[in-house]
């Protein structure tokens, strides 16, 4: 990002007094959903201010130093340590200019047609068919240089995945990636790309937005959306001291014709709850899905070094949709991918302690892994504590548990066929498997809270879209049913999880939302 554009980003170290702003649109959040909205509105001549709770970090400043602890501290809302209330799910969410796109894996996939049809038929979502989204998908893919990962991008873990899948008779495919030639396959995608090779919002839509006149205030935490007479009128926010993460003592009041909430799948609903937004549906803060991720590890006799290279150049969508027989779960309901964990995160996930754990870590370079993104069935929710901070509730249960066990079996099948000598289950007992005849162990492995943890990469659903105000929070224009001029344009507005990486879906839905808002702009002027 060039110097002139950087100047349009206000960081809290330059703030020394309370501020007020009057704009056409204020956008809360600078990830995939917010960035597209902001640039589209600005391109149409609207004055747009974006507010970002996290800091502004750039490779040009040496900020992306590739250390796990440093980068969790910079990029992640919970500094890598947030969990669901029962600690069963680890919650990672973007907290920086660029949002979660700064730490995502760069997988770029269109919304599956079946999911769009489900949203239309079950939730009454209108004007979001595959045909209607197609031009947006094409535009996004061009802007992000999205293309199937090339063969030279496959690291040792990816090659093992292919070998195992081939031997097990599981078809696999290259995964479409948002990268350009600056990607050096360093393996530090989750720590933020130090090379600008990954096409996050920080290198794509945000520079475009800034060129179109958007301003960004970083280190700026929105306390609440202001509503007057059933209409959104602005926001009240506080600047944060980036060194302490505490409030600096300076407020920001923004008066705006429209308020666009894009604070992320985990945090937009809490903001609306904190703002006491009317919720006649009772659905605000409910229906949380996030593609919980079980993962399995394999010890190989050759080096894997899974923390190098891009995370998932290949994978299989063969099992994406669950199969049921007469209503009874049979198989599937997940994507199956090679895994990538950096060393300290790997250590935290591997089971055991003391000498047994140390012996495993001594072979960390020979540990490979597979991961699955579960297409959730059961859901979680969020509520606020006395300080207004979110408490996310989620427990693995019901069909989700059956899907997790099936996914673990498929992971085991791939890893064993790839030559793993022993499989390590990250449960409290550290269950081990050494051949396919032991797959049945996965039917009873302990998945309860405190035994196994699940990553939660793709939150969705807590401000779900739908036609009926009695069953949904926002309409098909992303506008909150009960509050005029208040929009939610991030995965919170999706009726369910997407079943694939949601970034392209989020951007496409934002394009639709921006177009519809501009068509009806006179209603808000």
């Amino acid at each position: 990002m060039d110097e002139a554009l950087r100047e349009r980003v206000l960081e809290s170290e330059r703030v020394s007094a309370p501020m007020t702003e009057t704009v056409d649109a204020v956008v809360i959040g600078t990830g995939c959903g917010g960035a597209v909205m902001a640039k589209e509105l600005a391109a149409a001549g609207k004055s747009v201010l974006m507010l970002e709770r996290g800091g502004f970090y750039l490779p040009q400043r040496g900020d992306f130093d590739q250390r796990e602890d440093d980068m969790f501290a910079r990029l992640d809302g919970g500094r890598g340590l947030d969990t669901s209330e029962n600690t069963q799910a680890t919650l990672t969410y973007g907290n920086c200019v660029g949002g979660a796109s700064v730490h995502y894996w760069a997988d770029t996939l269109r919304t599956p047609k079946d999911r769009l049809e489900q949203w239309a038929s079950q939730h009454g979502v209108e004007a979001h068919s595959e045909q209607e989204l197609l031009p947006h998908f094409e535009r996004i893919e061009k802007a992000l240089n999205a293309h199937p990962a090339k063969e030279h991008r496959r690291n040792a873990m990816n090659r093992l995945f292919i070998e195992g899948a081939d031997k097990a008779g599981i078809e696999w495919e290259p995964i479409v990636q948002a990268r350009d030639d600056r990607c050096v396959s360093s393996g530090y995608c989750m720590q933020g790309c130090a090379y600008d090779g990954k096409q996050s919002q920080l290198v794509t839509h945000l520079p475009e937005a800034l060129r179109a006149g958007v301003r960004i205030f970083a280190d700026c935490e929105v306390e609440r959306v202001l509503v007057n007479g059933g209409r959104a009128t602005g926001v009240l926010a506080h600047f944060l001291d980036r060194r302490t993460t505490k409030r600096l003592g300076y407020t920001l009041e923004v008066k705006a014709k429209v308020v666009i909430v894009a604070a992320g799948g985990f945090n937009s609903a809490p903001l609306l709850l904190r703002s006491k937004i009317p919720d006649p549906s009772g659905q605000l803060g409910k229906n949380l899905q996030f593609n919980p991720c079980p993962q399995l590890f394999g010890l190989f006799e050759r080096d894997v070094v899974m923390w190098r290279g891009i995370p998932a150049a290949v994978g299989t969508s063969k099992y994406r949709l669950a199969r049921y027989d007469d209503g009874r779960y049979v198989e599937g309901g997940y994507l199956l991918l090679p895994n990538q964990l950096p060393p300290a995160t790997l250590a935290a996930v591997l089971p055991g302690f003391g000498k047994r754990h140390r012996d495993l870590m001594d072979h960390a370079h020979r540990i490979g892994s597979a991961i699955s993104w579960i297409d959730d069935v059961e859901t979680g929710s969020v509520r606020l504590d006395g300080d207004g901070n979110p408490i996310w509730s989620w427990t693995l249960s019901g069909t989700n548990e059956l899907i997790v066990r099936d996914a673990l079996k498929k992971q085991a099948t791939v890893l064993l066929h790839a030559g793993a000598k022993e499989l390590i289950v990250p449960d409290a007992k550290g269950t081990r498997l050494s051949d396919l005849s032991e797959l049945k162990k996965l039917d009873t492995v302990d998945l309860r809270p405190g035994s196994m943890m699940f990553a939660s990469p793709h939150p969705a659903g807590m401000c779900r879209m739908g036609k009926d105000p009695a069953k949904s929070v926002v309409d098909s224009n992303n506008e909150v049913h009960a509050v005029k001029g208040l929009f939610v344009t991030d995965p919170s507005a999706l009726p369910t999880a997407v079943s694939v990486d949601p970034s392209e879906t989020i951007m496409a839905f934002s394009y639709v939302a921006a177009a519809k808002l501009l068509e009806r702009w006179s209603n808000y002027a």
């Binding site: 590739q66 440093d70 501290a73 340590l81 070094v305 923390w307």
Partner: protein, 163 residues
């Protein structure tokens, strides 16, 4: 049954000045970290040398009051939860082998609370041990390609090596 005054807990983390945690809580955390990441040889320095407990204490300063109090409560359960295992002895007063047995029992306990407590303390210990560059050679990790730049809200100990 021997109790534990501040001197006892201070001896478990000598020279440390707690920030968010109390002397007692930091002592319990240090004792646990030492069992989760015990020393073995030069390449496996162990949690005490890496000062994992102090690092976690510093990290807590950047988290919500609720998370801080949850962790404090977890350390209380860790220290005094022996009654659930028919032992009145505090965790920090147990011999190392008995501490390992207590940890093992908590990890597979029928009590969700116990599993959560040990599961999360174990996770914190391991993460903050293995982010320290002194542990990397033993696990065949060559380290990052970029020079370190401390984040604005930095929880590393000032004298820690900058890997």
């Amino acid at each position: 049954m021997r109790g534990g005054g501040d001197d006892h807990y201070r001896s478990l983390c000598p020279g440390a000045t707690p920030g968010v945690l109390s002397v007692k809580e930091l002592g319990v955390l240090a004792a646990l970290c030492e069992r989760v990441c015990p020393p073995a040889d030069e390449a496996h320095a162990g949690a005490k040398v890496v000062r994992v407990a102090e690092r976690i204490d510093r990290e807590l300063a950047f988290h919500t009051p609720r998370m801080q109090s949850d962790l404090k409560a977890a350390l209380l359960v860790m220290e005094h939860g022996g009654l659930l295992h028919l032992s009145a002895t505090r965790f920090t007063r147990l011999a190392p082998e008995a501490q390992d047995a207590r940890i093992e029992a908590m990890m597979t306990s029928s009590s969700e609370l116990e599993r959560q407590v040990i599961g999360n303390l174990r996770l914190l210990s391991l993460f903050f041990y293995y982010v320290d560059e002194r542990t990397w050679a033993a696990i065949h990790y060559e380290g990052p390609f970029q020079p370190r730049k401390a984040p604005p809200a930095d929880s590393r100990l000032p004298e820690a090596p900058h890997g």
